[in-house]
Subunit: 146 residues, 2 copies
Amino acid sequence: MIAGVLVTPLREIETPGGNVFHAMKATDAGYRGFGEAYFSTLQPGKIKPWKRHNRMTLNLVVHIGMIRFVLYDGRVDSPSHKEFTEIVLGNPGNYARLTVPPGIWLAFQGVSEQISWLLNVADLPHDPGEADRLSLDEIPYYWSER
Amino acid sequence: MIAGVLVTPLREIETPGGNVFHAMKATDAGYRGFGEAYFSTLQPGKIKPWKRHNRMTLNLVVHIGMIRFVLYDGRVDSPSHKEFTEIVLGNPGNYARLTVPPGIWLAFQGVSEQISWLLNVADLPHDPGEADRLSLDEIPYYWSER
């Protein structure tokens, strides 16, 4: 696992009429403050290409569908520099929160047959100036179709 | 509208592979701090009965399905004391955030044919001691089947 990346299992609480699913508490591991919460959706098989946040910590929760995340450590001073980590999160299946500190390249793919939904509880509001982007082939990785 | 309750339209941003949906920024109207973000699901037609938070401000976002919210102002010092407000939020349809300050009774019903998903960005972490509950018939309101 890339240094500083956390995977935190999340609880589902059975409730009459519809269950409750934890996402993030201010006291949880990986919480760095609140700037913005937003959703991303992902069509089956589609890949969102490489993006690196230079200041933002991401806290990612896949509450519907399933997503393959691939992380590449671009931090030159990191013990896991140039390492990859792949993790698949989804609900039902592997309901957990993925914490990604700044400086790590992230790309992700929808791997369920339905649309996937991803919540990001970020410590900063959206600021296009703090993120870098690369096309998918600029960091070589084997992506299967699904 | 009950005093202090806000309905804030939210943006959907078209993005290749899957769109982005805003939920809450720290600079948005209705933001009172971050304690916890969690999801509630709601089966079609089901009603979650009356609950009043005495300290928590709720920021509610229905990103999938459709939910009818009924609010009853239980604050004796409020200009809208004993008033009801009904609002239906959903996506697609009426994608918006509902801000509910403390002291207001809230019950809600799933009104889409699919399961509905609700995100609450709350200013306090879950604390059963700060909320009161009543059964559905203790605050009379006409609930249609759907």
